[in-house]
Amino acid sequence: MTRMMLAMPLTIARYTLLEALRNRLLWLLIGAALGAVALAGFLQELALTESHALQAALLGAVLRLAAVFLIATFVITSMVREASDKGLELLLALPMPRATYLAGKLAGFGALAVLPALLFGALALALAPAGQAALWAFSLLCECWIVAAFSLLCVLTLQQVLPALAAALAFYVMARAIGPLLLMSQAGGNASSPGQQVLGGAIDLLGLLLPHLDGFTRSDWLVYHGGTGADLLAIAAQTALYVTLLAAAGLFDLYRKQI
């Protein structure tokens, strides 16, 4: 029984990964990598100095965006297609808890995120020492896991491509901007008007709720090689916490669904 309970999520994860590969996601990732290399190479030629730093910084930033965008889009479109094809209903009709289904999906999307992390990490290796490139790639993997888990939650809740994609995008932008937003809020800490106080309070609350993705996958690790083991630990801990939180929220929603 235990073996079967373990096999079911693995099967769901395997088929999720297979679907991604059959959707030519790997080719898209390779295309994104080539496009980013070409763009960074072109802009590098325009630089007066620090051309290597320019290439590393831009390549890091573009690859990070590409990975997150492709993962979020795939998670959302794949889940919506499964719901439209009645695959979700079929799977939930099987004698397995809904948690198994969600665990399988999360594991599948998590395994999928390894592809951009490995591919783009190999590119980063050409620009930075192995330790820094590995830290950058690991951080990219963690960032993709968080985005995949949030996209899954969005699609389970909102059930349509456009609202789910918009919510995932808003979450991602806010999570990356939250550091500077908190600094701005602290700088205006003496604000007296009620509107400013409410805004400051909302930003402080967001700072508590959101993962601080501005500290993840930083291109300055590739440029100045300043990433440390403490960064790695902080990222791993934040990812473990946040993916657990998102999985719990997803489960909450899934168990309440009338299917």
Binding site: L46, A47, R176, A177, A187
Partner: protein
């Protein structure tokens, strides 16, 4: 996939006509528009540091590089070339400052200030750039001294302001005291006081920088070697006259 499509003959004649008419209208519309005229745009004032940090979305180094390319390319706009004299140097300095705020370890804003914008043939603008390099040098002397050293040469030979040049050289001696700063950088003050022309002084400074192995970036090496080659050639008569007028820049 092609076998799933019907032949072209099944498309109604009206659709063919509509498609051709719409295409002709589009081409005619674009052809009838007046030709575009290149117009130089003024460099807009820089956004605040906080706004740029927010826009960076956690990637300040990447945004700093992109912003630097934007500022650096502003004198070569689409179809029109803008002279440095036409640029508002207060705005340019504002942008360079923002780039440094985003990435304090970056060297390109100070290189551009001392070697590019500082070469303008207008003493007021040159002084503004040198003052910017001097002010920013104080924040990180061990990393930024080469640009102040160049500023000292510009002050001596282009502005003919020996006290200013000496002040810059003295600040390098007093503040750039890190282990990675070569010993000859501390002797710049004496070197400034020597009766050496601009060509020889600049050759000594750039040659020293290249020899020290401090510069590893191929683009910067190429840029400085080009400058060295230019300095190695005897000046052409117009250049001599330009130097006498103190107006070597654009």
């Amino acid at each position: 996939m092609a076998s799933l499509q019907k032949p072209l003959s099944v498309v109604p004649r009206a659709v063919w006509l509509l498609l051709a008419a719409a295409l002709l209208l589009q081409v005619g519309w674009q052809a009838s528009r007046p030709p575009l005229r290149a117009q130089a745009q003024a460099l807009p004032p820089p956004p605040s540091s906080a706004a740029l940090r927010l826009a960076a979305l956690g990637e300040p180094v990447a945004l700093a590089r992109l912003t630097m390319l934007y500022v650096q390319g502003f004198d070569e706009q689409a179809g029109v070339s803008v002279g440095w004299r036409q640029l508002d140097y207060v705005t340019v300095i504002g942008w360079l400052q923002r780039v440094l705020d985003l990435d304090p370890r970056g060297q390109s804003p100070l290189l551009a200030a001392s070697q590019v914008y500082g070469a303008v043939g207008d003493p007021v603008r040159t002084r503004q750039m040198l003052a910017f390099v001097h002010a920013r040098f104080a924040q990180d002397p061990d990393r930024r001294w080469p640009w102040l050293a160049h500023a000292a040469l510009v002050a001596k030979h282009r502005l003919h302001d020996l006290p200013l040049a000496r002040r810059y050289a003295r600040d390098i001696r007093l503040h750039a005291t890190g282990a990675q700063v070569p010993a000859w950088a501390h002797e710049l003050e004496a070197f400034i006081a020597e009766d050496m022309n601009e060509r020889d002084s600049a050759r000594a400074l750039i040659g020293g920088l290249l020899q020290s192995g401090r510069i590893t970036d191929p683009r910067e090496l190429h840029f400085l070697e080009q400058r060295l080659d230019q300095l190695g050639q005897p000046p052409s008569p117009p250049e001599q006259q330009q130097q006498q007028n103190g107006a070597p820049g654009r």
